[in-house]
Amino acid sequence: MSEPEHALAAKSAGQLNDEMLSSMRTPTWQWYGLAFFLGAVVAWGISAFTYQVMTDLSVTGLDRPVMWGIYIANFVFWVGLSHSGTMVSAILRLSQANWRRPILRAAEAMTVFSITVAGLFPVIHLGRNWVVYYFMPYPNQRGLWPNFRSPLLWDATAITTYIIGSSLFLYLGMLPDLAVVRDRATGWRKKVYAILAMGWRGTAREWVVFRKASTLMAALIIPVAVSVHSIVAWDFAVTVVPGWHSTIFPPYFVIGAITSGVAAVITLMIIIRRVFHLEDYLTPLHFDNMGKLLLVICLLWSYAYFVEVQTTWYAHEPIEWEVWSFMSGKYTPLLILMLVGNSVLPVTALCFKKIRRSVRAMLVITVLINIAMFIERYLIIVPSLSHKNMPFVWGSYSPSWVELSVTAAAFAGFTLMYTLFAKFFPMVAVTDVRELGVRHTDIKLGRTKVHSLSEEE
């Protein structure tokens, strides 16, 4: 029997429910303190944004030629992070990897909240945010219609699809768990969970339909996730900006998204495990397996980046090479940090099982990966815009306090949404984990007993 199954086999269903639903207990003062602090950072970011709206974009660092800066870096970063749930939850669900079970909910919730944050940034970075509704296709008196030939509108369509799809994917997975929470709740909470649980009873027929719906949704959400980040990549690739106009951008962005998503899931797993005492459910085995997945993804990212640089270096087209030289010259420390964080460190460290099974080491590696991925987005956007084709319009960019405040608010807002989610909804897929318990048995084979797990076709 594997480590998680050993721990679970000894516990009753009620005990498993108690432990896995421990995040939903009455909040402590530490929880209130954290929520207040995060709320304060979000409020500060909102006030900075309000100042930007009331003044104009001159309060940011944006100016010719760098009209896309840290806001767009945020947008691409958060869209990338949203690939966590899809890749971890949907792919592992389809491949029927049993170790996925305690990780699903954290990954799916992360997808929803990160794509929500991502969707705010195209609005935040507009010069006239109050006319953002111009992009909606409805008959109007303005004589305007959205231009569907623009990649920015493909973005809007894809992100809307992904937000709705991933929210439904999260809700679907939670349906049986909401019924468990409903049965244990009292007062107004019971009524709310009863509405959300939609009358779920757990009949055999409901489980059959649920299992097939979960598989179908997993199969549908994966191509949507791939298309979303490919479309974000096309925002850059279909332009003629040197450094951006590259056919490798869509797969490169998707690989980068999976890298940051998987790393972020591991980081969140570590935090959730520690805060809610879920050591029996998120074991070193889970980190070992996620570490292997991360190793493969980091290798792919390293390959994609190498290919990108190698073709630029070999062709040595003047303006393309100028952009690369400028970036590597002016932003050398950031470039080194990016390469170490995304490639050198994970590829070397994650080869070792001892490191993959060490929670502390995984925390350091995964946080560094996401810092490096944010830097990577910044280094794609800003240097290329700074040094485009005409030398007399070359310029520079550095983010202002307004942009940094909004960035901080984005991180705080994501964390706050996650904190609230953990308080009101189960952070571990309760029925998924318990399913492992009902399907396993020990059978006598030869001279010993072996662990057997039943699976359905």
Partner: protein, 169 residues
């Protein structure tokens, strides 16, 4: 009418199912209520066929048509001349068609799933919160009268901790 018996473990629950089948109750009228899914046949056998995927397919086709009309149709009706670019362009039209097809396929899958599960229910159905903590419910759909009483006594003989009955459609 549905009669529900609550059992403490799988063995007593399956004993109840066997007893009901031996007494002449059809297996299609018997179902289990569990908070974790058991493999088919462990407690009861259920029809594994589902139809909600057709709703997802229908949603996808509808979405594709909607996306095509949105991107190509509206561009034709309200043309925006930008240099020598085509009014209706293949790739943008394809992308919008694909995205809306996926969106409506997902919505169709969820709607179909709830329709097939018959959720939310129109009437109160028998249930026991103990099921959430690992107890197993065995439910029999029977007409009111002698059959209901017979089902209830069989459930109790098999070891049901308690039984409830509700009028259902």
């Amino acid at each position: 009418m549905e009669t529900l018996g609550i059992f403490k473990d799988v063995e007593t629950a399956t004993r109840a199912v066997d007893g009901l089948i031996k007494a002449g109750f059809r297996e299609e009228t018997i179902t289990s209520l569990t908070s974790a899914p058991y493999p088919d046949g462990v407690i009861v056998k259920t029809d594994q066929r589902t139809w909600f995927r057709w709703m997802s397919a229908a949603g996808g086709i509808f979405g594709a048509c909607a996306g095509f009309l949105l991107a190509a149709g509206t561009a034709y009706v309200y043309p925006v001349q930008t240099g020598d670019k085509p009014i209706i362009a293949y790739y943008p039209t394809g992308i919008i068609t694909y995205e809306l097809a996926m969106l409506f396929a997902i919505l169709g899958a969820i709607a179909g799933m709830f329709l097939e599960m018959k959720l939310p229910p129109r009437k109160e159905r028998p249930y026991d919160p103990a099921i959430a903590d690992g107890f197993i419910g065995i439910s029999v759909s029977v007409p009111p009268g002698d059959r209901r009483n017979r089902a209830e006594s069989l459930l109790k003989e098999a070891g049901a901790l308690r039984t409830t009955s509700e009028e259902t459609l």
